[in-house]
Symmetry: C2
Subunit: 371 residues, 2 copies
């Protein structure tokens, strides 16, 4: 039994944008897709029904956080992550590598894996390729990610080379720990930093091992957007055309449009949700900061072109009041709007690709932001 | 035009419990009723649609908070509080007196009104009977409350006498500032502390002035429950039988059941919402604290007899995880359950009164809590 499949439905005539479909054991996902981030088993401030309402098809959960609290074995005993958090659509879990490596002095790496101290209580913990896969399986994710190092930026060629080679060996161990055919997909993660030859080498190694999908890791780590786009331009064409391509941790609406134009199928990022809690809202004409005094008397919705629940029912003045008053509903409403914006943007991109009009879509996207 | 009316539908055969109906310009309210508290123009963590789902018929908003931020004139310019917060059912506003008098050293009282410093920015502010009414009218509340002093407990007879007399004079000024017939109801507030003769005198004065409803103020301020019930026993029969009776700031589920038995029609309290944010949940068998380790692996809902959205879809283990993780959804889900509990309790009480079975309802209520 291996119901995970990717169907490449259409390729845009003028760009490398792709229209596809993931077929998972928990339903289909139309691509390109943006995956809201539910770090601790909840997309902050969003009921699952609200997530469905804004069009979320698949969400991301963080292995590192759930491993530490409440614990993957506990989640497994309670019926898996879907049942735990009342979400029946697909879930992708990251491998925990990104968070573990972000711990800096609190972690120590060797060939076996990573020893680290929990950010919650300082307790000693270990993650290895094998245990990361075991955790993700216990959570019962539909797409699981190989355990790798997310290389910081900038980094020396020597560091990137050594790290990428180790991530390659770890990817092989992940594949061995999780053979295809038992229900969920395993994706490999292309590293190599900003070095084209190392990216190519990493991609070749992973393809040789063989995964159900491929990600670009180590992007959106502080590099210029043009550098990121350069890596996409160079590395994405090296990946199998008939398999899904995921760029991890990206990004702004502009990053998404550019990524789609270069052939990315899947994205995730905390930007719409985290920004929402800080009062930064996405609109068709760019970002606004709802805390500004100019909105105190503004009866208009966030974006008069937006059809979301928030824009249909609430004024900027009310949203500013909620933000100023530190009310829970501020985060709830702002998050709902921002996720609707991101998911609607992707829905419109999908339609544009289907009709070979992605270049026009991209031009219109930028034109409205510079009016 | 004065559509505000109260219809006394039925009186319980064995207790003083009353089944009634408020007819307001924004729809009817079945009594006895519990009013969730929306201090700053939002019931913390509750979308208006969720409030309707748990059965909220009318909510309370705080004049003091909205006066200071965002300001009643701003709310009026934006179309009134209902439109501002996207709530189209009735709203009752308190007078601001309770909060102003709670400021202690930051306020100064004289016959004219109260001068105080804003808790937000220390700015000098004034509220008088006339301005309190003006603020409540600007908010466009459906039921507005007379401006009075909420007397602390304990208090000397001299203090209570003087304060109650002044509140009586202020009540008259409120009535003059707001004549009947312009749409909303004005309620007078019986003071008198825990002194029966002063309560009686206050009630007589207010009835002489004439209001659309009467409240008991100065309860739930630290006195024993038996003292509170004693005041209800003594003062409620002094009020006009054909007008609504509201006990302000009360209380626990037990307080509500006892209040209903004594003839109270309306209640408000922050208890279900504030406790929810602290992880304290109400059930048919009493309160539980969801943070306790005993719930970490508990797959059961909060209350297996509860039919609310939260109990239908989430385990205690998940709710404990959300609380431990300081997640927004913790407050959202806990609040939704607690308000459902309170509002369902009142709905069941109404049915019991209609069929002259309130005594049985009350016995069963206590029996389930002591099992």
């Amino acid at each position: 039994m291996d119901p995970f499949k990717f169907a490449l439905l259409h390729e845009d005539a003028a760009t490398r944008a792709r229209r596809g479909r993931l077929l998972t054991r928990r339903g289909t996902v139309e691509t390109p897709v943006f995956m809201p981030v539910g770090t601790q088993g909840t997309v902050k401030g969003m009921l699952p029904e609200a997530l469905a309402e804004v069009g979320a098809q698949i969400i991301l959960a963080n292995t590192y956080h759930l491993f530490l609290r409440p614990g993957h074995e506990r989640v497994a005993r309670l019926g898996g992550l879907h049942r735990f958090m009342h979400w029946d659509r697909p879930i992708l879990t990251d491998s925990g590598g990104f968070q573990v490596f972000s711990l800096g002095e609190l972690r120590k790496i060797d060939e076996q894996g990573v020893r680290f101290q929990s950010h919650l209580d300082g307790s000693a913990q270990v993650l290895t390729p094998e245990s990361s896969i075991a955790v993700q399986q216990a959570l019962d994710a539909d797409v699981i990610m190989a355990f790798d190092e997310c290389i910081p930026y900038p980094a020396s060629r020597e560091y990137v080379l050594e790290s990428t080679r180790r991530s390659g060996r770890w990817a092989k161990r992940c594949r061995e720990a999780r053979r295809p055919g038992d229900g969920a997909a395993l994706f490999g993660i292309v590293q190599g930093g900003m070095y084209a030859d190392l990216r190519a080498q990493s991609a070749a190694e992973l393809i040789e091992i063989g995964f159900e999908g491929y990600a670009l890791g180590g992007l959106s780590v502080g590099e210029e957007a043009e550098v990121m786009y350069g890596v996409m331009d160079q590395a994405l064409p090296l990946l199998p055309r008939d398999q899904p391509r995921y760029v991890m941790g990206v990004g702004t609406p502009e990053n998404l449009v550019e990524g789609i134009a270069r052939g990315v199928d899947m994205f995730d990022c905390v930007m719409p949700t985290r920004n929402a809690r800080n009062g930064v809202l996405f609109t068709s004409f760019g970002r606004i900061s709802i805390k500004q005094a100019r909105y105190a008397d503004d009866p208009e919705p966030i974006d008069s072109e937006c059809g979301c629940y928030v824009c249909r029912n609430y004024s900027r003045a009310y949203l500013r009041h909620l933000y100023q008053s530190n009310e829970i509903l501020s985060s709830v409403l702002n998050t709902q709007h921002n996720l609707h914006y991101y998911l609607q943007l992707l829905a419109e991109a999908r339609t544009a690709i289907e009709t070979d009009r992605f270049s026009e879509f991209r031009r219109a996207f930028y034109a409205r932001r510079s009016e």
